[in-house]
């Protein structure tokens, strides 16, 4: 079985892959014939592929997100690799492959991530705060265990959001120990809530965001989460003007820090300041870590990282 990043022209190869994109097109010949224009992927990368003889049955069998076994030939076309598919069939249960083997995902399993989040949730001592957070976690449902945290910037993979939350919770725990004037309940709640509406802001499959939802575009995850807290408070019979409700909404609304980064208010609670820096540090260091991971050891410089002012990282030789 050959990883996509190891394919080279003119290899012949066999392996299991995921169909990421698939379109039925017609050749420029007379008479025109159907062919399938496909993008295959695995966890190591993706490649364009063509299947030239397409039966009516094929059209009913192969779709995006189908796991397939492929036998093919690697060719060069306009200086890029392209696979000419010889044989293709759907993966069978007995093949023992599963979809998460073929996509980029967090290094910790969704189950473990959710377990950690639930543990922290249970440790919130203020019952009202705990109830509001629980309400919002319930509202996002099982999307929390597999959604990415963003379209491109950071944690843009399967379970990226939960992974981001878990690492932030670790950092938040340290910061609360180092600076006891911070209210640990608010830090925990802020970390869990700050991006909680992202799964409703974006439309994603297998960790890849294809678009933003209508409410994602018209409201944005920051205002959506603020609305969810209103909803939770009404559901729990709380005073919408209490410091607790307003405080949680503030922490969520201000976590991007500056208006030009999307926050309608600047942080004005100690925990809101802390949350912003916990969020930034985790997001930026994860970008660095993930970029280093996909850069071959032999390369001194990584690709440029958009979220870090488009700068590449250098591997220092000490």
């Amino acid at each position: 079985m050959t990883l996509i990043k190891h394919l080279q022209a003119p290899d012949e190869f066999t392996g299991f892959y995921l169909i990421k994109e698939l379109e039925i097109k017609q050749t420029n010949t007379t008479p025109a014939k159907d062919f399938m224009d496909i993008v295959l992927c695995d966890a190591s990368g993706q490649v364009s592929a063509k299947m030239w003889d397409v039966s009516a049955a094929d059209k009913e069998t192969f779709f995006p997100m189908t796991l397939v076994k492929v036998q093919g030939l690697v060719q060069l076309y306009r200086e890029r690799l392209q696979v000419k598919i010889g044989k293709i069939r759907k993966a069978l249960p007995e093949d023992g492959v599963q979809i998460t083997d073929f996509i980029r995902s967090a290094p910790i399993s969704p189950a473990d991530l959710i377990h950690t989040i639930n543990g922290v949730l249970a440790s919130i001592t203020n019952p009202t705060i705990q109830s509001i957070v629980s309400f919002c976690v319930a509202k996002v449902g099982d999307k929390l265990d597999h959604y990415p945290a963003a379209k491109t910037h950071h944690h843009a993979y399967f379970a990226g959001l939960a992974y981001h939350i878990v690492r932030m919770l670790e950092l938040g725990e340290f910061v609360c120990k180092q600076r006891p004037f911070l209210n640990a309940d608010l830090i925990k709640a802020g970390i869990i809530l700050h991006d909680i509406a992202k799964p409703e802001e974006m439309i994603a499959q297998l960790g890849i965001v294809s678009d933003y939802s209508v409410q994602g575009k018209l409201l944005g995850h920051i205002s959506m989460a603020s609305n969810w807290i209103t909803e939770a408070a009404l559901h729990l019979g709380l005073d919408l003007q209490s410091d607790l409700v307003i405080g949680l909404q503030h922490i969520v609304l201000s976590h991007h820090n500056l208006p030009e980064w999307g926050s309608p208010v600047l942080p004005q609670l100690p925990e809101a300041v802390a949350l912003h820096y916990i969020d930034s540090m985790d997001a930026k260091l994860q970008m660095v870590e993930d970029t280093l991971l996909i850069t071959p050891e032999s390369e001194s410089w990584t690709p440029m990282i958009r979220g870090l002012e488009n700068k590449a990282m250098y591997r220092l030789k000490l």
Copy 2:
């Protein structure tokens, strides 16, 4: 009765005024004696005043926002006018003066403004939109009939908010006629809702904002109004994810147009674009109109206007 803007040293005068500020202080003498450090105002301006012999009864009688009859002497102190109060008493019913005579206020009476707003509200044809707007108008209560629209920028006087809404409704009606692709219900709703949370964002008395409320600072009137729509929708049993609810929230959230002006999302509905420009035009032209009004006819240039890039207006002589 002498208007404050006509006072000159060393006039003696009598008149009715409003106590805008009052503080009991002590003289620097031995023994120290109590005196009242007062700011008197009427619709024409304000002046500092001192009352040197203060009885215990006086301290129980005079407070900020008391209407008083004053007999005094105008003096110069450090090149500024200052009133030495000779006699002072509370205004009596038979004096026939009322507080709104002494403060800056909109040129249309609150009752008429509210009447107009209610009329437009009643003309909204979509019953769901009408219900949401009614809910929010009810929530802000009678503050709508006297609150200013801002602390300093524009319409910063008694009933300024209602006046701003009414002029915008006139402009909105014209724009909807000129461009029928705009949904008049959404325009009307957007105009009434866009600043509806301002009376809860600010703390004002008689048209003058003294401070912002805690939720004003931590959430801001834009996010507050969005929360109110959530509340209204839950109260009315509406789907929070319906286009109607999201659309109204979007129009409110985006009405400042750019993130650096406080909007977490940019306008993405035709009516949201229109609302922003209706709001801007009304606010800016009102700044110009109000500044011209307070500038003596003999002056070619008005004072600088903060909301217009700190520029003064010139009276062209044609």
Copy 3:
């Protein structure tokens, strides 16, 4: 007759179109042969076309902006539609087609637009202002009845400039009624003059700007219009330092409001402030209206609109 937006491969079709671009090229064969590389357009869109056998007579017959009758075949070439021209001839008077049927243009006829503008011009009560405006309108000549208002941003079509002026005059009339402190003569003059030099700033044909003129690039329409007012004033024997002349120049110079938007001075007359907002509102709402028009009803989102911070508009489903 087939609209271009309805063409699909492999249609055969006949229809009238406008030649928007035409270049004589040579095939890559031996011996090389001449062919015509053409862009055909109608009001619904444009398409690339090739005519492979080109006679010497053809080269003398067909040029850009020629109206033609075409019989052709639609093909796919590198995933884009391309027409292979079978037959082509110039349109004849008896065909009853005219050039404005094939281009994007304002929804009101040029004659009606000019009629409205002239009516408003005649209604200016100050004879000196009227004379200056008339001089400038005469100077731009009949370009006023067909020039677009911009290269891409807004009103970028046949008679777009006159249309922009007319809608602004409507809005200006309303604003002067709502706020009588504004001088209606100055508003009318400002609206007609603000973009009056655009037809000399840009080089356009049939509503499409191909480039900017030398003086367009070196001076810009704002300074050009200011110079025109100087010219008018000298022609009319007016004092160049009179408030009237300076005032009109100021209104034109400041109408982009901020230096970074091209205005060397900020608005400092009430009418200059008003003009800026009337101009902005009309331009922005027209962008929205025009974009909605070209977006199929079936699409929820329009294309992105450059002049609105690159945002798309959403069709709310109420």
Copy 4:
């Protein structure tokens, strides 16, 4: 005779000074008495002064810009120096003092500056360019020999504008020699014209700008100079659309380089680029030179210079 910068409390002194400001005020006593609140200046600085016994004749004798002989006493009032005037009389012809001895002015005499400018003007080889420049120089008249170049930023003293032009002409001559592709006529014309309208933009006396004129505020010197070139061209019967006229206007319009610095167009002629950098270099280096001059040799650091990002200059000890 004592320079103002050498006055110290409690000196008695006698000297000639210029009355820069003078106001008749009244004491706070009963009965109030008139006194004169004066600012005296010489080339070394200025000081506040009071004259307590004021006769009716005095009020008819002393005005701002009067040269006077003063005998006085230096006192400290609220930690600042203040002169108590003992005797004061107008300067007489036999005193041999003249107003320019008491104000800050360019280090070259106005006559010499004008002589140099006229010499360069005569050396312009293109007669049309020469005529346009002459027209504008004549238009500004004898204000050119004494006006400052700015209110505060640079060359803010008597004959500062002419001095700025002359130093720029020297630099321009060098640059044209070093880079012969530049047209020397355009460089000379650009240097003389770029700030030619400043004396009509500002209201100044003795090198000190008290305010901007109405056209200075509403048009600005850049657009004013562009209008003057239009006027010159019409006067000379030139084609307003000729490259020569447009080119000169462009050089003037673009000399501030960026819109946010006041230029409606960016430089698009080689000479326009050169002019901007000649202007900047002269203005910035003059700020440095003038600031060093007024800083005592004993000080390592000059005061902060606004036009240089508010930075102070350091005197390096080599």
Copy 5:
């Protein structure tokens, strides 16, 4: 003994204080008499004081930074508190007071801070990195144990710099554990070196910065530290072009992240990215913590914090 923050007019009081400022001035009387204009401070605040009868001996005894015992009377002068000093003497050894009792300082003793820093320095495993850091630490000498970290922004008190380093080292240790791809030696070195030149950039006494040094202004602490690393490398005989030397210089140069914040290069090493966020988080949270500390418990809002976009913090009531 009375803390300054508890003084109220008209208290009589006795206590030990530090003379922060002292100037000999003369009264406005005839004859003028010397008096001492003093600012007294303790750890709780500062107050203006006057001593009216000053002997020649007094002038030789009292100077800024003298610890004194004062008996005085609190008065109100122009609405501010002012102490009239009755008796004053220098503090004696037997009084048992010491200067650090009277100034704001880090909550950990300098000795403990230095001990921690030395411990971390000793734990750096790469001997070359350790040597470079040791060289720079030795170069700054004992200023490291008492200098503040900044003039106003954060850690602006006695031993503030060492305290900032120690808290960052704690956070850095956590981050290295959480993200093992980071090189702990580089993180430790970066934290110790990033502000190491600050004591040579600023002139401070007792934790209060009075000015910047010449090299502080002309080079800045970032370039100074880069130069120090060059010096260390030459001293240690290292290759100036080795990755190790360049890497350490890069981490220092880039730690302000963006050019507009003072860094000539953007972070391009994983450890440089981490250092920037560790530095920011520590500085910002310390600002919050210190501001909360000086805000009375009874106040809901702290003063505005300059380094946090001028926002105040709110004490949430949960």
Copy 6:
């Protein structure tokens, strides 16, 4: 011999050219065959070329930067010119061609440029300044005689850096004469040192920069030059804190003027201010001059110039 800019399809031609790029590729045929994908250049431009039959010997003979004699045929491929190589051989000594004939280079020979620089260096009167500059000039070695001054912005050709220095020295000499308060030694030193580290910041061959070096990216030429001065000072036994050393470092560090242009400190020495404007003027006017040179005389407008806000220059017709 045919210049590349004169090639037209379907010419046959012979000439000498430089191989700028060369890659061995394989045809898409069966069996695949090697061919050489080449970019040929001369001083007039560059063109893509293919050599289809490639022997093993050829692969050992032809490399980038080889001078070759080529006989070829010009063809059109996808609307761009492409050379089909018929014959190719290496240039021989007897051909009398040399590499600098084929690349863009400064209009003055490297030897003359270096001679001028050395002359100015020798004229520096302060021996310490002279020694520091000599040390840095020696450090950069013979790269100074051929390196470009930048990758794309200005002087991006063979010996561009030395040429930039020489023209700046001419301008600097003039400015020092015009303004004697400037220290000529510092101006000379600043001009020679300001970009002295560029040859170590960039990797260039024949005047073309292919990339930045590791230290170029991690430190930048500004900080590198500052380090070099430290090195020079230590080598010469100078006090690193002396005004002379700090002053030279300051002039280098501040020469980009603003942080966002790469300078960590703003100019605070008169000579630092002067250097910035000398540098800017030379760089900008050279961009204009070089762009005019490569624009055919028949074109009114040059290509857009990135370093001049992306504006094109116009050739005025006087």
